[in-house]
Amino acid sequence: MYTEVLEEVICYHCGDECSETPIIHQEKTFCCHGCEQVYELLNDNHLEEYYNCDLNPGISPTDKNFDFLNNKAFRDRLITFSNADFSKVSFHLPAIHCRSCLYLLENLQKLNPQIIKTSLNFGKKDLTVWFKEDQLSLGALATLIASLGYEPHISNAEEKPQNSDQKKLFLKLGIAGFCAGNAMLFSFPEYLGIDDVSLQALFGYLNLALGSVAVFYSGSDYFSNVYSHLKLRKMTIELPILLGILVGYGRSVFEILSHTGAGYIDSVSGLIFFLLIGKWFQQKSFDFLSFERNYKAYFPLVVTKIANGKEETAPLEEIQVGDRLLIRNQEIIPADAYLLKGQSQMDYSFVTGESELIPIQAGQSIYAGGKHVGEAIEIQISKELNQSHLTQLWEQQAFKDPNHKTENWENFANKVGMYFTVVLLSLATVAGIYWYNVDQSRWSNAVVSILVIACPCALAVSYPFALGHGIRWLAKFNFFIKDIQTFERMAQVDTLVFDKTGTLTLQSQQEPSVHFNRDLNDTEWNAIYSLVFQSTHPLSKQVKKFLQHRKIIPLTEFIELSGKGLQASFDGLFVQIGSAKYTLNKLRIPEGFISSETRLFVSINQEPIGFIEFPWENRPGVEGMLHSLRHQYEVHLISGDKKEHAAHLLDWFENQDHVKFECSPLEKMEYIQTLQKQGKIVAMIGDGLNDAGALKQAAVGIAVSDDHLHFTPSSDAILKGSEFPRLGEYLRYSKFGLKLIKASFILSLVYNSFGLSYAIQGNLYPLIAAILMPINSISMLVIATWGMNWKGQQLYRSKIRIKAE
């Protein structure tokens, strides 16, 4: 007796499972010819080290041809430098993921002698190539890189903004640190007691120099920000902070120059240093993602034009009204057009949310953004892309105003900032008046000390750190948030609006299971395939995919009975597909129980054959998620699809007012606007171009994506499809973050009042300030970090536990 162990055969190159017939070469198995070819190529050029750096590092290559890049329009955009000897180009390669990628891409010159040098920026996934363009064209270079599995992503959009702001901030940060550290050093003699007056003066002047640099150079952003905010009549938290800094600095200048004291330079520059660290920390950007894609990024870069009977490729921008284009299966219609030749079934699910395919006949119009399904067709452009039916959405105000969401005037920090300034100034005034009347020598000291010590720097430190950690943790769960303001708005959200198609429901990947009571012969299968081919029902799409190797045979007497099914005849066969009752299939379970969404029954010549069963269209875990979210948030469903296709979801959206179907992209946006007028803070969760308006309008727009290499509409956050069911936990995490900030702020108020009690009495010595302020900042930093990390660990552990179940 022996037990047979079935081993998975995986591809040596990319690690995917091989099908039943793997390709074998040199005793290694491959899942496809593409992988095998890459292996051969690497082997022949002595690049086998690729496979040693990481496990199954390869990526299955596409055989896309990039010759269109040689077109002047593209070439000029991509080539960053060119002279007689070489050209320099930069490609974005989203498929980069490991050390092997680094190895291979930086050894590219071994594959082609015209490549001089390459340099990879792993974080940004950008590859810079120096090559001889006169011997190796740009298109050929791109094709070579794509053939290794690293398809370059050529974007239609403009360049991403430069990093110069980040650079400047980092510079200011470093200088501030330098000044703070040395100022502390120079202040020691004063604290430890020094008698030599001239040395005292020396250190004083040195401190003054450092302090001036710290305040006016490193702190310059605070000046410019507060100035521009005041012009808009807004008070933010930066105002009391700047006040504290200026007063501290001013007092120090006075004391040092008049030799009456040592000043607070070390506290002030230390504060600036911590504040800048916070600013730097909050600037986490995910360079490999784009939150800013507009509709242009969804469309292909090149199309096939038919001119004078010949086919030629042309860039999208050159398409004009009246041009005739060839569109192949699965290609996207680049502009409003009408169908000239052929038949099409249009998939508008990404653009309007409809999951049914729309059959188009010659002469009918088609809209930009639809995906063509069927044999190749010829179309004639009737409108330019930016005039199309779809792009009207982008003319809306929300899209035009770049600061629609980012300036977060109402956030917690700024509200506090306002109150703080008021309280602070009144406290200082009161103390000043009091001391002026009681003991003249103390009043200036008291006022200054109050303004310095009571500065809400705690908030300015804990904010960016807590929220910055929040974003970094969520990124580990494949929930990428654009910036910390978004994270904060997530905590304030009270209403969730879901899109249906593609968000709650999936383009179903799994194969349907067949439950027939006898085997069918080829003709019968072909008949079923041909019959289903005519149908636009979403389930038919899946059957078509399942049976795509079958042939189409001419059917006669085709009839579609809505609500029941389809029927047609072929050569003596009478085929019916549809509901159980219609196809005379008997059910053991009452019919009402099974939604018509999951089973297609078949009968041939009036003989019931059985059914094809489809896996639930819902994303796994969606029901659980909706169940837990219902109690804390108001949940809504808006969809571009018809009501019939969402029957199984309606259970979770009890309130009929919270559900709307057949919405156009514009109507979705207006729905959000209506909710916002009711004072609600709305988060929109969607996936397609049809959600772009709603995503922009909502306080937080979350785009769900199964593959970040794919297009995602412009949003504030991108959530991976597999993580979608855990949305509730991530929203809770953001709420926790805000609570943590508030709690730590109160804590800092408590021990700040300790210092304040000294300040009011006019007894605040620079030494005490120098101790209290860094303690304040550091403790805020530590609390923020520990708190967010602890909660983040909890999230992680609960995820592992769920996976194990």
Binding site: C53, R99, L102, Y103, F122, G123, L171, I175, F178, N182
Partner: protein, 38 residues
């Protein structure tokens, strides 16, 4: 001496060394091609 360090810091930022902190770390771990073939 301290000023020397500041100058070095500013220079490092201006020459772009701070832009990519990840890739050089990975590059160091790559084996040298020549020493491999002993």
């Amino acid at each position: 001496m301290a000023i020397g360090f500041v100058i070095a810091f500013v220079w490092s930022i201006k020459t772009g060394q701070q832009e990519d902190l990840i890739t050089p770390a990975m590059r160091i771990l790559q084996d040298d091609q020549k020493t491999n073939k002993l």
